[in-house]
Amino acid sequence: MGLAVVELKGVTKRFETTDHTALQDLTLEVPQGMFVSVVGPSGCGKSTLLNLAAGLDQPSKGNVAVSGRVGYLFQQDALLPWKTVIENVLLGLVFRGSVVDRSLGMTWLRRVGLETFAAHFPSQLSGGMRRRVAMVQQCIVEPEILLMDEPFGALDVHTRHKMESELLGLWTPPQTILFVTHDLEEAIALSDRVVVLSAGPASTVLSSYDIDLPRPRNLIDIRTEDRFQDLYRRIWSDLRAEVLKSYAQIQ
């Protein structure tokens, strides 16, 4: 594994208007070509962490260093509803002023099985299809670092497993992926490393586990393997306490 392409050093993020400290003294390194997942209970500042890495937000304290072009798959739907599927896919090329090659867009759509929907509007697609288009929209500009914020959270469990496989199919190192989820199973199944965040407010990195499951992975069966279960138990013992803390805060 190579150098760190995303590096957060002693990062604190305070939102002045709400007087809320999302992250406190957080340090995280993401090496090039690695698939790193960040897990933590809801409200632990996972999205804040990605916004900092994407440069959409600035840290109150500490340093954020990112080397390489960034793509960002948001949790919410971010396709432009007034553009067709193919226009959405080509958007990154239009913005960058590069030659807009429609056939390149069609090639990418074919990879996720949506080439026949090129002329449709996003509102005509299912949630899973819109996610695929959003994924392709990011991939076409070939970002060196791909940030993903619970990208499959809103999908039903089967669509979700299918999309996870498709994601691993589209991912080609040295591309780096920083993936945020509250689902530990998903994190272990996909990643090379799982980072556990503590419950908010003032979240920070609690522990970090290397996932040494061999690739390519069969996501259908991997969850029942002994090594998977073993890792799950170890990481869950960390995460469990944080999840309970966040429950206590909600009540």
Binding site: A54, V70, A78, L80, P81, W82, G92, F95, S123, V141
Partner: protein, 256 residues
Amino acid sequence: MRRSSSVLAGQVAIGAGALLAWQVLAARKVIDPFFFSKPSDIGARVGEWVLSGTVFPHLGTTLLEALLSFVLGVLAGVTAGFVLGRSGWLALVVEPYIQIANAIPRIVLAPIFLLWFGLGIWSKVALGVTTVFFIVFFNTFQGVRDVEPVLLNNARILGASERQLARHVLLPSALAWIFSSLQVSIGFAIIAAVVGEYMGSSRGIGYVIAQAEGVFDTTGVFAGIVVLSTVVVLVGRGVKAAEAHLLRWKNPPPVR
């Protein structure tokens, strides 16, 4: 199908019933035809105007004034709405002045504009711009403010410049709001033109109505009203068609 034809039948019945009642009441002198005229007389007058062609130069003047005030008002309104919608600071600073300006009843400006711009078309255009501007401005402002932040962030991540954000994200997003204001603005542009003409001019439908009123020609007043409302409805149809095309992404046909 049955439903829409029964709706149409109901619509026709109401219109025909009202006109018939008016006609009968006026013919039997229950209401004074001198003050209320009769649908048959009004129809005949409109027909006479159209056949002789005398109405068209007046209509042309009124529409030119309305069109100019509409175009200028929309341009200014969209631009101001965009700039203030994007700059929170500037919007806060100028907000009280916009409120004050918008609180002025437009009609009291008509005499001032007549003094400033004379009896020709420009005093009417100025009056129209002051009405159209605020409607379009408030809607554009709201539309720009209303954009989902995630759409902007996503476009920024994909490399959009500020100009590209405006063109690909902000403007299309505000378009639904702008269109909802256009129907109203067209009506107001025409009203402003007519009011301006009514107060002082030598051409236009407002002038025709003022002339008819001067000689107690109720039929002429009503005929002017009929011509105006017909034009407003037709123009409104055109705007609706443009809207249906530009906002077709909102209600696309279902897949398969």
